[in-house]
Chain length 190, copies 2
């Protein structure tokens, strides 16, 4: 019997702690209201808020180079509660540049909606809450809105050769917006 | 303002509840000691145990056909506590058939070791516990052992065109085995 060197057991792990990733090679990015210019429909309400308002932050583990076939990326997004007019704080939303790449999202804490739009601009949503799991098929744009009064966090896993196409959404938007109507979230056609 | 039909919000979600997936299109499989014949090294201890002993169970969400490029699969594995001789209950272990496909594992409950082996048969392990996140690069075989006294559960996300190559592991095994030595888990060269 030969004992192997203990060094072979990795003692500096990567951690997925509720609403963020911690460890080597974890990249953090913050998005403020200024980064989402043109995304919200109520321009007057948008202009009245501080452009420094923090909307969401993302921690990502990107173990291989962007574009690598067969690799995967992992991330956690925290969206703060709030609204711009009647529209909930939400992520920019994107298609994958490599159109047939899918993605999983799953709710970790808080209450939200995953809003999806196919290439025919048909929009639908799924309730997101701790333990909800969502498959986003290839060719489907996706964004998440926080509809609650506390932070919404969700985790994601996607292929390292998916890429992000934010431009189509920035130019044409989604064909529906998730708004607070009489206190309840409703998809409103634009 | 036009309210959209509520049917567009999916009310029958897929759930990821601590140690299993629940929902439509979730596939469950059970593995008993009989399914892992030849995997454990202490043949005498193996033969003395009931072949019906439940080692682990897996619930999987497989939203696209196996082999689909760009799609993803998601699964939860529950490994029961126990040993065959000094060797902890563990999964079969596999390479991906499509060698460059990576995978994420993350610990949900219990205490375990993720054991990895590259194509040069070099073996190492990572501590697995609630919140540990592990990237398994392409070309690396992987299996998980439960080193605790309660159920170990972990979640996984992998490409739908990764496939599984169990045969190489069944024929040649890993070049090291995780065994209980004086009460502690140790990788032992075979």
């Amino acid at each position: 019997m030969m004992l192997m060197n203990d060094k072979r057991t990795n003692e500096s792990p990567l951690l997925f702690i509720k609403d963020s990733l911690i460890g080597e090679n974890v990249k953090r990015s913050l998005k403020t209201l200024a980064d989402l210019r043109g995304v919200f429909h109520n321009c007057e309400a948008y202009e009245q808020m501080s452009p420094d308002t923090l909307l969401y932050e993302v921690t990502c583990h990107l173990p291989v180079e962007e574009g690598t076939p067969g690799g995967l990326y992992f991330g956690i997004t925290r969206i703060y509660p709030g609204k711009v007019g009647d529209e909930y704080f939400m992520t920019k939303g994107h298609f994958h540049a490599n159109m047939n790449r899918g993605e999983y999202y799953w709710g970790v804490e808080g209450e939200g909606r995953l809003i999806m739009m196919d290439q025919n601009r048909r929009v639908w949503s799924e309730r997101m809450f701790p333990g909800s799991l969502h498959y986003i098929p290839g060719g489907v744009a996706h964004r998440v809105a926080n509809i609650g009064y506390s932070v919404l966090s969700f985790a994601a896993c996607w292929p390292s050769d998916a890429g992000h196409d934010y431009q189509v959404i920035l130019e044409n938007g989604f064909s529906a917006s998730l708004q607070c109507v009489n206190g309840n979230p409703q998809l409103i056609e634009i």
